[in-house]
Structures are given as C-alpha cells and as structure tokens.
C-alpha cells in the first residue's frame, strides 16, 4: 500500500467513524451500528470510497476480536471460568448442534446438496462474537445471566469453529491444496503428535503466563515508559495468537486463555486499559468492513429472497436459543436478551463461506447470498438489542409474576444512584453507606469500577448521560440521582437525560462553581451543591478562630454566609439574563463577581449580628428603673 494511499484510506475510515458513530450513539443506536453504517456509506455500493479491499480489511481487523477476547479473559478469573464450564458445554453445544441440525434440514428441503447444506448450516449456526460482546459490554449487560449465557455460547462456538474448518475439506467435491486451508506447521504430522502439540501449546501459555509474562511485565513496569507497556501487552496477544495459529487453534481462544491466566495478576487493569483503545479501533474497523461488504446490488436484485432468508434465519436461531434458554431455566427477561443477542450469524460464517467457495462446496451464488444474509443479520443485531431493551424488557419487568427466581440474580434496586466515584462521590457514598443507605454507583473509570465491585458496592461501568444506561442502572426505581461528576458538559447531559426520561427522579447536582451552578439553575435543577462553597467557608471560619474569634460566633458567621451565598446564587442566576448581552463571558463573570461583592457589603450593613447583645437591654431597662 503506498503511503499516500494509506493516508487517503485512513482519512476515509476515521472520518466515517468519527462522523457516524457519535450520531448513532446520540440517537441511541450504539457504536456498533454506527460503525456498520459508516462502513455501508464508504463501501463500494454507496459512496464507493472503499473497494474490494473490504474483505482484506476485515481479516486484518478481526484481530480486534482477538484482543477483545484477551481483555474478556482478563476480567474472568480462572475460578469464574471453571464455574462457567457447564454453561459453555451445555448451553453452547446444544445451541450449535440444534441450530446446525435445523438449518441443515431446511436447506436440504430447499434443494441444496447435502454437502453445501451442511456447510451453510454450520456456518450460520455460529454467532458474531464481535458484535455481541461489544454490544453487551457497551450496555453493561455482561454480568447479567443473559450476558453470561451469551458469552458461554460464543466461547463454545470459538472452540467449535476449529473442527468445522477441519471437516470442510472432507466435504469438498474437488480436492484443494492444503496451504489454502489452514496452514499450520503440524500439517502432515500424525494425529497423536498433533494433539500433543496442541496440548503443549496450551500448557505453554499457562506456564508462560505464570512464570514469564508476569515477571517480565514487572521489569517493564519499572521502566515507567507507558508505551513500552502497551507494546508488551500487544506482544503478549500477538505472540499467543501466532502460537495458536501455528498449532491450528483459534487465536481468539488462545488469547482468551492467556487473559484468564493473567486475570489474577496485578497488571490486569493496566493491560486492559492499554489494549482497550486498540481493541476499540480494530473492532470499529472490523464493523466498518462488515458494513462495507454488504452487497447492496445483490440484495437489491434478490430483495425478497434476502429479506426472507435473513428473517427466517434469525427467527429460527431466535426460537432455538429461546427454547434452550427456557430449558436451562433462564428468567424470561434474560432469555429474551440471550435469544436476541445471538440470533445473527457471525464473522466465522464469512470465513467458512469463503473457504467453502475455495473448496467448491458453495457456488458463487450461494456465497454471495450467504454473505449478504450474514452481514445483514449482523447489522440488524444492534437494532434487535434496542427493540429488546425499549419494547420488550419494559413490558416484562411489570407483568411478570415471580417465577423461579434464583436469589443471586435478583437485582435489588437502590433508591439512590450516584454518578461518579471520585473524591466527591465516594465521600457521599461512604457517608450514605455509614448511615445504612446503599447506593448504586455509575462510573466510567474501569479501575474504579473494579475496586468498588470488590468492596461490595453495586457499580455499573458506563456513560451516565445515556438514557438506556440509566435504565440499566435502575433509574426507573430510584428516587434520588446524585451527580458527583466534575465535568460540567457531562452533567448537563445527565440532567437532560434524566429530565426527559426519568422526570420522577430528584437530581442532586454537584456544581464546580458559581457559573456552573447558574447553568443548572437555568436547567431547572433544584438541588445544587457547589463543591467550592462549604469547604472554603469552613476554612474561612477556622481563619476567624485563629485570629481570635470565638468558635461559636465564627461558626455562626460561616453558617450565615453560606445561607446568604445560596440565596444570592438563586437570585443572581435569574438576574444575569436581564442584563444586556455581555460582550464576553469574562466580562459577564466580572460583573457578576462585582454584584456579589456589593451584595455582601449590603448584607453586612443590614444584618449586624445582634444576638445576645445586651446594649438595648441596658438602655431599655435602665430607662425604666
């Protein structure tokens, strides 16, 4: 790729992402759909910035999935993974087998030869790890029962894809040279040795994780060069992926394992946060590529067929998932999440289809149709999440009688939600907790979230300005929402979301300063707490005492000042709009400050502290006697 070409392409991708994703997020569609739309727009069928290289791009960007699984592994300690084993095998295997069997039957009935039918069935039985996990974590649903089951199924599919790719050549009508299939170094070795090599590779990851990677990271961390740590993190992921590929295992699976091994290490968060942006970008690129591969021309030609195929594929997968969920005793709400989440076909289908086309199992027509259906089903998935969240879940919450509730899963709803667990929020939270009030916390700092979870707080990681997220955090049932975030812009967003979607909630707002507070007054917030106010006055009170003032009079002066200042805030907030338009913000602030000082002087003249003043008594009684 020439340098100029690279710049042009990068500009196109980045611009598309930067334009589409915020819009999609803003209108509540989520980032995945934003990337997909961006991909469609720049793809060959709309603006045509991106040509056929879409598929190459997809293979490159698939590495994002590998990193994502590493990060997911980091969050999953080995004991937790062990506890998931039944789900992975039970739920996962039944999903793949049943779905594949049903689709196989249907495609046979539609008249495909059995080899093609089997390939199509296996390809379509798998779901999209990238889309599902990204969406689940964006919506903070990974820790729900539905999320965990989805994850287990995806993990099983990751394992299942290996034998699937292995049996495809056996279905081939014509033989294919081996390097076109999987090119591993083990090709040609006897099966027993291959197995040993595979097990050896896994053991190598486990041992290296314990005895090589962690000590190595310790050395690197001591160098205190941040990008070096990022490089080390990438090196871990890439080398594991390479090792896995060379023994014919899925790189994603291998890095997942590596992540799990490192989940107990002290570098877990650092690795996570260093890789996170890279993962995000690559996944974004991957979604763009998926969007770009949607062949609108082909879809337009076969509009009815593609629509019917996609709809029925998703319906079939949905029904099977839903039945499995029922069989495994998922609560109805979680079951809907589970079934909607996994109802699409995934990126593995692209791989299987292209491999099958090389092997001659699938005709070009089947390939084209298949890829369109897969891409379309992936695109629809974020929309299904939204349907589930907005239309299905709200109805379920109310009407459902308490059925087989597992006690762990009951999400107890707190009356108080606190956004932001910095110094401000944590103090409020600790105070409330000390007084028996449990609050739900929202924070967008993963480390903090993790710490809080360990301490037994109920924390959600995410963006408190988003209504869907607020819903997930229980805003529907909360009475008080405390915003302890220091970024005014985000606070404005929170207030807007709350007022629009949860008007019942009382907002208690942290304001940085007076000007910030004025904005909240304008927005109709009733409870505003300027972080700079009480502390400054407390300091001032102590100064008065150190200069010889009595404690009680100083304290009363502070209380009085606080009260006056609060009153002035409300008064001046309304006032400032009467004034002529200010030339500049700075000028406006100076005038407000002047006004404030004048007011202080007036107040001082008016309300001398006459309490316990005996002068008038002396005069009054003196005259009387």
């Amino acid at each position: 790729m020439a340098a100029a070409d690279f710049l042009v392409q990068s500009t196109v991708y980045l611009a598309a992402a930067v334009i589409c994703v915020p819009i999609a997020k803003r209108i509540g569609l989520g980032s995945v759909l934003g990337y997909l739309i961006a991909g469609m727009l720049i793809g060959p069928f709309v603006f045509g910035f991106l040509g056929e290289e879409g598929e190459d791009l997809m293979h490159f960007a698939e590495f994002g999935v590998v990193i994502m699984l590493f990060i997911i592994g980091l969050e999953l300690e080995p004991e937790k993974l062990w506890r998931l084993r039944k789900k992975i095998l039970g739920v996962g295997m039944s999903q793949v087998l049943i779905t594949a069997a049903v689709i196989f039957g249907v495609t046979l009935a539609l008249g495909l030869v059995w080899q093609t039918a089997l390939t199509v069935a296996l390809a379509l039985s798998l779901s999209s790890t990238a889309i599902v996990l990204q969406t689940l974590s964006e919506k903070n649903l990974m820790d729900t029962e539905g999320g965990r089951n989805s994850f287990s199924v995806l993990l099983f599919q990751d394992i299942a894809v290996i034998p699937i790719l292995a049996i495809l050549p056996l279905l081939a009508f014509r033989s294919v040279s081996s390097e076109e299939g999987s090119n591993t170094v083990l090709e040609g070795l006897p099966l027993g040795l291959q197995t040993v090599a595979v097990l050896g590779a896994v053991a190598l990851i486990v041992l290296a994780g314990r005895y090589l990677i962690v000590p190595g990271l310790r050395v690197i961390a001591r160098a205190r060069i941040r990008e070096l740590f990022t490089a080390a993190a990438l090196l871990i992921v890439v080398s594991i992926a390479l090792l896995m590929q060379s023994v014919g295992l899925s790189p994603a699976l291998g890095t997942f394992l590596g992540g799990v091994i490192l989940a107990n290490s002290e570098y877990r968060h650092e690795l996570e946060s260093d890789l996170d942006p890279i993962k995000g970008l690559l996944l974004g690129l991957f979604f763009i590529a998926v969007g770009a591969t949607i062949d609108f021309a082909l879809i337009a030609e076969n509009l009815v067929l593609v629509t019917i195929l996609t709809a029925s594929l998703m319906a079939v997968k949905f029904l099977i998932l839903f039945s499995i969920g029922r069989f495994f005793n998922l609560l109805i709400g979680q079951n809907f999440l589970f079934a909607f989440a996994l109802a699409q076909a995934g990126e593995f289908a692209f791989v299987i289809f292209s491999f099958a086309a090389q092997l001659g199992i699938a005709s070009d027509q089947v390939l084209g149709l298949g890829i369109s259906v897969v891409a379309l089903s992936m695109t629809v998935t974020p929309l299904l999440f939204i349907v589930n969240e907005r239309m299905i879940q709200p109805r379920l919450c109310d009407g459902i009688p308490e059925e087989e509730q597992e006690p762990d899963e009951v999400e107890e709803r707190n009356k108080v939600i606190i956004a932001g667990f910095g110094h401000f929020g944590s103090t409020v939270g600790r105070f409330l907790r000390a007084n028996g009030v449990e609050a739900t916390f929202i924070d967008n700092d993963p480390d903090r979230v993790n710490l809080l979870r360990k301490l037994g707080f109920k924390v959600y990681f995410g963006d408190a300005t988003r209504a869907d997220f607020l819903l997930a955090a229980g805003a529907q049932d909360a009475e008080i929402f405390i915003s302890a975030i220091d970024d005014p812009e985000r606070n404005y967003g929170i207030v807007e979301s709350l007022q629009k979607f949860f008007p019942h909630i009382q907002i208690m707002m942290r304001a940085n300063n007076r000007y910030d507070a004025y904005e909240f007054v304008d927005m109709g917030v009733k409870n505003i707490y300027r972080e700079s106010l009480d502390t400054s006055i407390r300091l001032g009170v102590d100064v008065l005492r150190k200069l010889g003032g009595t404690a009680y009079t100083s304290t009363r002066a502070g209380q009085q000042f606080l009260k006056r200042d609060e009153e002035a805030m409300w008064e001046l907030a309304g006032h400032r709009h009467d004034e002529k338009a200010y030339i500049s913000e700075a000028r406006a602030r100076i005038e407000l400050q002047e006004e404030l000082l004048e007011k202080d002087m007036e107040d001082k003249a008016r309300e001398q502290d006459h309490a316990w003043d005996s002068e008038p008594l002396v005069r009054g009684f003196g005259a009387g006697e």
Partner: protein
C-alpha cells in the same frame, strides 16, 4: 484539695464584659479545669464520652453561664440533655455522679430587686434555678446555692472587677475544702460565704 470543673457556656463571649472578667480570675491551680462549651462545640455536637470522663475526674462541677431568659444558654441545656444519660447519671444503675457537688455560677442583667415578688421578674433566683437543683438531685449530686453576679447592666469597671475577685475567692474556698456542706445549706447565694 477538691478538683473543680467549670463548665462554661456563653454564646457571645467577645461581647461580654462581666463574664470575661470572671473567667480571667478562675484560679490557675491544677485542680481547676476550665471547659468552654461554646468554644469546644460550636456545632453543638457534644463529645459525650469526653464530657463523662471530665465529670468523673472532678468532685465539684460549676455550671457557669449568663442567666438568659431565666435559664442557661442552649448549649448547656444540650449538654444536660446529652451527657446526663439514663443509666449513667440517673435511673437504674445511674450513680456515676453520686456525691459530687454542683452549683450554678450566673450573671444577671437585673439586680436583686428585680428578682423578687415586687420586681419585674417576680421570682427569686433560687426559684428560677429549681430545674437545675432538681437535675442535680436526680443525679445523686449535692446541689449548692448559686454564685450570682447581679445587676450587670449597670456595673462600672470597678464593680465588675470586684465581682470577679469574689468569684475567684469562692472558687478557691470550694477547691480547698474551705467549707462544709452544712455551712452552705441555708445560704441563698454562695457569695454569702465571703461575708463570714
């Protein structure tokens, strides 16, 4: 030697003329503890355990305060409400203060004439001070007659200095076994000790 705890309550000491002189004359000896409630608890958040241990460490307690509205300033009432706990100071098992002596040291704007049936306050200081007396009795303490500086509204500096000196002398007598309980039982004011 008796250990004396002066629990002082004045919400606006900087404006006071008499009380500042009085507290200036409190003996510096080690057996006297001056404890300014408004200075220690401007937020009214009284440290109950600390107050209890102060009480335990002393044999004589003085409630020293200006006489506002025929009573004490609110923080001293808060102190009584919070520190004199049931089961500790009174009630079942509440005998921690048993045998201690306690009295009020007060300043009043009106003079003695104002505090009598013919005066504008109608009742005498010992009448008004009954709630304190009964509080002490319920806590098994010996309640002594009050020390009072009266007519502060019309005092000149010399008179105020004189009052402060009297306070010092009374406290010294109290702190040094200068009298027996029976000596003071029939007095209206502790001030009268000095006349003997």
């Amino acid at each position: 030697m008796r250990r004396v705890l002066i629990l002082f309550a004045h919400p606006r000491l900087e404006n006071s003329r008499v009380n500042r002189r009085l507290i200036d004359r409190i003996p510096q000896a080690a057996n006297f503890t001056f404890h300014d409630l408004y200075e220690n608890y401007p937020d009214f958040n009284i440290d109950i355990e600390r107050e209890k241990s102060l009480l335990i460490d002393h044999e004589i307690v003085v409630w020293h305060h200006p006489f506002y509205w025929y009573s004490c300033p609110p923080l001293l009432k808060q102190w009584i409400d919070m520190v004199l706990e049931y089961g500790w100071a009174y009630g079942t098992g509440g005998e921690m203060l048993k045998g201690k002596m306690i009295f009020n040291a007060i300043t009043t704007g009106g003079n003695l004439d104002a505090y009598c049936p013919e005066g504008y306050n109608c009742y005498s200081i010992p009448d008004f001070i009954k709630p304190f007396e009964q509080t002490a009795r319920l806590c098994h303490m010996e309640y002594l007659p009050p020390f009072a500086v009266m007519g502060t509204h019309k005092m000149n500096s010399a008179q105020m200095d004189h009052a402060a000196e009297e306070y010092e002398r009374v406290l010294e007598m109290v702190g040094t076994n200068g009298f027996e309980l029976k000596d003071v039982a029939d007095l209206s004011f502790l001030n009268q000790l000095l006349a003997r």
